[in-house]
Symmetry: D2
């Protein structure tokens, strides 16, 4: 079931970048929940192309249409089908990759695995798929309204937002186009991305996500640990190369005597290097994690590559692409986190 | 099914640290495979306590007993049941945690989630469970004999093995007790762990894993990407805080023009920042990833903590614990990688 | 995942009778298969309302639209999304059941389980859902073209087609509107249904299904036996009350010495009371089974029932309903059988 | 996962008839439940061989050993591992089938599917596996103590217990060795089985199961309907050829006006042809169903069959076998029903 995610609250998706529509089925949503469809659309708008100068200039309205499972504004407990129509595709932009493999894209592996490939816009490998996840995540958020999920851009290239998340004002995340809640750093990030874009190049970055107001007890032991499922969710996002939570890779340099989180009398902890999870189960403290995104593989520069017959060919990026994926990844990270949290919340009932 | 892992080649486990036995069921193993039981036991011996001065001094023989699925030395296609008896447990070592919560352990979250907790030796939260995984992984390795999986200790605290894996001789991994294939660094690591142990403290570290000779085409799109499943597998291991593959978090600092892997005419790539996976599917290049382990939470020092009624109490580590989990984690990382690779190999048939 | 069926070849569905559209996602379909969309539509036409005088007179075009997973006429290995728009619904026909429970329908149980119910046309409980299955099954048939699946009406009320399937000409199934391949019996069945319809009543019946040219080895041991999965598939169809395969309930009256199927030298068997399956695995002989359908619960007669407050109310059937579900169930039985067979075929590779 | 059953409350099993032990892992059992191990053993004793003159005379103590998941008499929420040792096996009794295929057994299909077969005692295909299910079911019963499950022998060959279940006293089921709660019929059944046994033959039969005190709302829509999952569970039992619930195959002969169950003011129904389930969801009325078992394939008479090279050979039943499987199937049917009900109860929370 490689097109499905989740155990109880599930999403099953379909769709290629340049097909008629993408969409999915949300399963396991409890009945009686009022769905704010505008809120869902708002999340899609945060992800959609063309929203600023530092993202791809493709124009895709990305309007979600719900087809089932919601009646008189409320969920019925039935599966929720939805589609997002594909419009304004320029499939010709991709004709040059019909028989050639873009470096560090999935063209080669899909061709070897499946033989027959929809090359237009990357087909099923396109990050357009993540619009489906944003819909699923936006519904999931409404299933767990008390849990607060905030993601933001924490680095672009070697520009880091060094402040701990506790010092940030999450309400400022949407104040700038790079989605970094520190104005000064955000400005530098925007300049950097813009400069790299003009060079026909791309740049990587990281997204940090903080989940607050999580009840104690979410997550399952052994193979469905809360952080393992969060990690899998994040590693499912296109271009992700790494995931760390709590102290993360830094924790691997520390000693037990400095890493252990001491309890307060109420069960909360003084420090939170555990990242809100102990033994795979939430302990009520903030959950936080960081996700690494590689630079977008499509660059506006000539690259040598091969065609399907093994001939070396020169390829030049065409189409309208993101110079840095991170600003648009922010709502995707939140959506996948919401899917995981809603699923474990329902499992835990 | 939080006690199960895998889609086709599966493992389902049970067992507490101080119960009668731990064990599991391996499902989906093809028939007709000759199982080298000694090789399975050898993997268990690599993981078992008491093997050197830098690991816990508990004595557990960890002998695997296969109960089904193997007939006349070969698999029959039926599920393979196995147990590992628990012996030499000292449950009294844990009596002091019956009603108190060890800092940065799962005592608190399990108590809140389940109410009734087997506190002896950590119960189900004990890393003893990973012995089951080593059995499963050792069988998995025999299902995919052509794929080579090598893990090793790549850092202890701030001591890093800086050499790229290509410069290492994997045959030397077992030459020293810290499982680092560079003698000089290994010696420093051993000294460091020994020193920290004497201080009653613990230290974190990282394990790097390299998978070679992987056919093109393993992994599934969207939600069962090869690296997402590897990440979930690694994040399931006790004490893991992070996972990165290929360029990992470093890749997030790079530009597309330096990060893209250029193709050779045969479909291999000149560089391999992708880490052997493109779009979630293996491309035939080496897969490599890194796993971060926090320092063991049980330290031989006094710590303030709380009991189940919220009273502050002083606790002192008892029992026989690892000062650094990394040397014994090496075979566990390999085992989980083998489970993932065997599963995708069978899915890909 | 109660909206999904299958392990490798899967279908996940959504949709209410009077919503905007129903549809689903077909997962795990191998790549490179030429999909005959007209053949899919033909199967839908066999199921659709209004096709004859003995079925419901609702007019629903039931046109399938494929949205993904098929490129240049062939599958790509990506999930196949599809929708069937709902048109010509008359939701007013159902207004009388908004607050009352139709006897032997799911109105009561859905209201108790979910609270908020889409009553229009039965909502998610409507057999309209089975149109999704027919699409999935029609694609499945194209994945396993060598396996032949034939279902037919084998009884209506107490009118039975007594001939064994070996004496029937399956090419005649579509020659009459009741889908019984014996003209004489078919005529009686049609008369019977028509008479009952005029009385404002309904009648039950059975469908027999024969699967030929099945390779040896399909089915999995223990809990995914071929006949157990076929049984679950059939029992998922609305109005089904029973399933038997091979000798079925008659077999329970027999002795071993008369029931055992003796082998021929080539591994085939002289008799086939086993119904083509031994130990849950196909043996290469014909698979055959029988499915019992209760009479449709909506009758055009006054019935006493209760409303949601427990008041007794009189209810009279409205809308356009089937007097006997069996003729339209024939393609549904075939579709579910095809889904099961395709799934096990891919598992068995 | 063909060795696993269930979604939330799961059982995963292993074991061959003549291996060292059979056993399994029960997952998803809530914590804090006091487990009456004697009650579990009692259920095993109801299933075990040698308990009377009308069942196999093999002597197997079938003692369950729990290895995990229960601490101080109560479940901890961790997976429950258990084994049942195989003792008193006479593998020599099966040497004659090493290279030959018993008619209407799974020897042929397993050999074709897996190549390498454990022929001793039927290996994995042996109904000995059902002892694992009885353990799982006995634990499941303790998870849902208020739901009452009663199975009994309702026919042996053409001898039927015609009384409706409402007229039976379930407390008498264990009063006789055939497990039929009507003394007169039971006596005839016992005589019949005994006579057939002396003829070296076997006979089929049916088991009826009644589930009482079921809350409204158990079962999931579409593909996890309560009766579909019950049907799959029953069809997983060795020798089962058919399943019907409520009116079953008789319902297929009826008219809607006679089949519909009229409501009482409290939501209960006057009649119960629905069998306690509407739209796949329990309605609070008694659930009842009937399961058909074929005659045991091993008869104590000479039969012609083939060996693995296709030569015709004569075979004569050896070993100690049941002349009629039905009396020992009664606790198995109950166990599988309990597994299904516990699973849906936990899903429904």
């Amino acid at each position: 079931m490689s097109n499905s995610f989740g155990n109880i609250f599930t999403i099953t998706t379909f769709g290629e970048s340049h097909g008629e529509a993408i969409g999915g089925v949300i399963g396991g949503c409890p009945s009686g929940i009022e769905i704010d469809i505008e809120a869902v659309q708002n999340e899609l708008n945060r992800r959609k192309p063309g929203q600023s100068k530092i993202v791809t200039q493709r124009k895709e309205p990305d309007e979600v249409q719900f087809l089932s499972g919601i009646f008189e504004g409320k969920t019925t407990g039935a599966s929720i089908g939805f589609i997002i129509k594909n419009v304004h595709q320029r499939s010709n932009d991709y004709f040059h990759i019909k028989d050639s493999f873009r470096p560090s894209h999935a063209d080669y592996t899909y061709t070897k695995k499946y033989g027959h490939r929809d090359y237009r816009g990357g087909g099923r490998t396109s990050a357009r798929e993540t619009a489906n996840w944003v819909v699923g995540g936006a519904v999931a958020k409404q299933v767990i309204p008390s849990i607060k999920i905030h993601a933001y851009t924490s680095s672009v290239g070697d520009l880091f937002l060094e402040k701990p998340y506790q010092d940030l004002d999450f309400s400022k995340i949407e104040d700038n186009i790079v989605r970094c809640p520190d104005d000064a750093i955000a400005e530098q990030m925007i300049l950097k991305i813009d400069k790299i874009r003009k060079q026909g190049d791309t740049i990587g970055g990281t997204v940090t996500c903080v989940i607050q107001n999580v009840p104690v007890g979410l997550g399952e032991p052994i193979f469905d640990k809360l952080h393992a499922q969060l990690g899998k969710a994040m590693l499912s996002i296109n271009a992700v190369k790494g995931f760390e939570y709590g102290s993360g890779f830094c924790g691997a340099k520390m000693r037990g005597s400095e890493h252990n989180d001491m309890f307060n009398a109420d069960g909360s902890t003084k420090s939170n290097l555990s990242g809100g999870i102990q033994g795979g189960i939430s302990n009520g403290m903030d959950i936080y994690f960081r996700v690494a995104f590689k630079p977008v593989a499509t660059i506006m520069q000539a690259q040598q590559t091969i065609d399907k017959d093994g001939n070396m060919v020169e390829m030049h990026g065409k189409g309208r692409h993101d110079p840095c994926v991170v600003p648009r990844a922010v709502p995707i990270v939140e959506a996948m986190a919401a899917l995981v949290l809603a699923d474990f919340t329902l499992l835990n009932k």
